[in-house]
């Protein structure tokens, strides 16, 4: 018992820097009175750092032949090394799942011996869960760079999601910090899975019997603040992953200093949480509010404003389209008003069919009026003063919301 607990301590600790914990996007049904289903994407608890715990997120092994500078598991790091057996991971997953602790398993690993040796064991774990235990919970496998096409394909048949973390937004960053890793070793499997997902989806349209293949799609993660990239660089890379590889999610992970390597921010330096938060906000705005990277970060503005969120920054740069009449403005424009979210927009659009909406209604809908008031007109609200400058509005909003900033506030909506 002690042995398994010690392994869990090490291998959960080493896996925690992967921020993804999503368990939604798949709708695996419980077939023939088996165990589990997916689709609810439940966060079963939250760690003290406020992150969702939905999956058992562990490394299979923290033995690694590579030496990526930003990673605790790197070869040259002097740490305790250990590995779970295939059966140990299976038992932990099943027993945690049966107690309703988790939605499923998120398995990654250091590279033992070589890519295929490692990937084969990971696939075996997924296969055992699915076939021996009739397990229909969520399985996320983090693919090993350089894994063969056959193993990637097998992984796709058992997993709900596959990910491959690109980690370094630029090629230069990768060369500098992860000299063993080749970009191609990551891109080739990602492209293979993208193509196969499309293929399976097409076949399923014709034949119902075609098995599911990575139903929750692919994701990746980039580290923020380990090297010198701008926010614009990062957003550009993320956009490419969304469009080219149809990624379901790109995660941003503020670099947590773990070594004294002089290529990296020193131990004890702050995790760039605010920057990470801005990136999530922008990511969200791009996916659901119709903003583009070039709108949020034009070439002249390579970094997000630390004081205000990307939506408000954009609005202040584009005051000419405001104020908007809440009772008549088009949905695509309402989406751009600071302080008004998707839920409120839905309520505004429904509510205004029944009658004129007033300030009172907007407040009851949960709209952040101290922001929105500068950009809208409606009954009960005095016209926004036309001649306020951008800086004055920013000042007024900041004064009214001091201390309200909650880290990770966008992540709440996301997970």
């Amino acid at each position: 018992m002690d042995k398994i607990q010690a392994k869990l301590e090490i291998l959960a600790d080493a896996a925690k820097y992967d921020v993804s914990c999503s368990s939604s996007g798949s709708t695996r049904k419980n077939k023939g009175k088996g165990l589990g289903d997916t689709g609810s994407g439940i966060c079963h608890t939250y760690t003290e750092d406020g992150r969702c715990v939905s999956l058992l997120k562990i490394l299979m092994s923290n033995i690694c032949i590579y030496d990526c500078a930003y990673c605790v598991t790197r070869r040259s790091n002097d740490i305790r090394r250990t590995s779970f057996s295939v059966q140990e991971v299976v038992d932990l997953t099943i027993n945690f799942y049966r107690r309703n602790y988790i939605e499923g398993l998120f398995l990654s690993s250091g590279i033992m011996k070589n890519a295929d040796y490692t990937m084969e064991r990971m696939v075996l774990i997924a296969k055992k869960l699915r076939t021996e235990h009739n397990f229909n919970g969520y399985i996320h496998l983090k693919s090993i760079p350089g894994a063969s096409a056959d193993l990637m394909h097998a992984a796709g048949l058992y997993a709900d999601r596959l990910s491959m973390n690109i980690e370094m937004p630029t090629n230069e960053g990768l060369k500098l910090l992860a000299p063993d890793k080749k970009r191609e070793d990551m891109i080739v499997p990602i492209r293979q899975i993208t193509n196969e997902i499309t293929q399976y989806q097409d076949e399923r349209k014709v034949l119902k019997k075609v098995p599911t293949f990575v139903p929750a799609g692919q994701s990746t993660q980039v580290i923020v603040g380990a090297t010198g990239e701008s926010d614009r660089d990062i957003m550009k890379v993320a956009s490419a992953f969304y469009s080219k590889f149809k990624m379901k999610r790109v995660y941003y992970s503020g670099y947590v200093p773990i070594s004294n390597d002089n290529r990296l921010p020193a131990l004890g330096s702050q995790v760039p949480l605010l920057r990470e938060n801005r990136l999530y906000q922008a990511d969200w705005l791009q996916r659901f509010y119709g903003f583009s990277t070039d709108e949020l970060l034009p070439e002249s503005v390579p970094f997000f404003d630390a004081e205000i969120d990307p939506k408000l920054s954009w609005a202040l740069r584009n005051m000419s389209i405001f104020p908007l009449d809440i009772n008549t403005a088009d949905k695509s424009l309402l989406l751009r008003v600071p302080g008004i979210g998707l839920n409120s927009i839905h309520k505004i659009l429904s509510g205004r069919k029944f009658g004129k909406l007033t300030w009172d209604h907007l407040k009851k809908m949960g709209i952040a009026m101290n922001r929105a008031r500068h950009f809208i007109t409606c009954a009960g609200l005095s016209e926004p003063t036309k001649d306020l400058t951008e800086m004055q509005i920013k000042g007024m909003i900041l004064a009214g919301s001091s201390g309200k900033f909650l880290l990770n506030q966008t992540q709440l909506n996301i997970f």
Partner: protein, 253 residues
């Protein structure tokens, strides 16, 4: 003012609504318990009548969609909020109107009902998340909970689908009833806890491996946390303190 007291059942509430319409009461309040004193007006004890309840539902279903009816049921399950007056106002608005009013957010009862529905939904979601089964010696996975609202009826199907190959019990300690799945079907049950069983979570009940998995889960919870990102405010917002008592990972190690 008339105060209508019903027996805490949904049918009872609907019978009270029937009464309001039968006697054309303009100023009526519906509640679960008779208030100590009513200064101006009467207190009326409502007899629950299934036939009348059905008639109210039938009338409402001509004016409301499935979701609209569900919103009323959910507000009823929010038993600790005492939203009967909002529910009545919502029903009056729905019946008086010649079109569907569910999205009429210019009406304050509609807005409030929407809010209550959200709160019930959140509590339901929490209970899907916060159930922590413990394996008993009888090979039944058991958990006792104390939810803010009466959400067991709303989570039953989720657990029935998910845990189809194990026996389980979810028990509402606050309201004194639970549900039991015996591998075939789900039944409503009540349990009489003996003195020695110390309520619910005693190790006397537990399977010999149960302690091991609890320890491993606590270990995992600790190890997966990133200390340098600590944010207790956010943590507590997601996992409010009143739930800690029943969460294995928050129980004292």
């Amino acid at each position: 003012m008339d105060v209508l007291v019903y027996d805490k059942t949904f049918e009872g509430f609907l019978s009270a609504v029937f009464y309001v319409y039968e006697y054309k009461l303009a100023d009526a309040h519906i509640c679960k318990e008779a208030p100590g004193t009513v200064m101006f007006g009467r207190t009326i004890q409502i007899d629950t009548d299934e036939a009348k309840a059905k008639r109210v539902l039938a009338g409402l279903s001509k004016k409301l969609s499935h979701e609209g009816l569900q919103a009323i049921y959910h507000a009823y399950l929010a038993d600790t909020l005492q939203e009967e007056d909002t529910m009545l106002a919502y029903i009056r608005h729905a019946l008086a109107s010649d079109h569907n009013i569910e999205k009429d957010y210019s009406n304050f009862a509609v807005l409030r009902m929407q809010r209550v529905d959200c709160m019930v939904h959140r509590e339901r979601h929490r209970m899907k998340a916060f159930i922590r089964f413990k394996l008993t010696k009888d090979n039944i996975f058991y958990d006792g909970i104390e939810p803010d609202f009466n959400v067991i009826p709303l989570i039953r199907e989720h657990f029935e689908k998910r845990y189809a190959d194990q026996q389980w019990i979810i028990y509402d300690l606050r309201r004194g009833f639970g549900i039991y799945y015996d591998l075939q079907k789900v039944e409503t049950i009540t349990i009489t806890f003996s003195e020695e069983s110390q309520g619910a979570d005693s190790i006397l009940w537990m399977d010999q491996n149960e302690g091991l998995y609890q320890t491993l889960w606590q270990q995992y919870f600790k190890s997966t946390n990133i200390a340098s990102r600590k944010n207790m405010k956010l943590h507590i917002r997601h996992v409010p303190k009143r739930y800690w008592k029943h969460l294995t990972e928050k129980a004292l190690m």
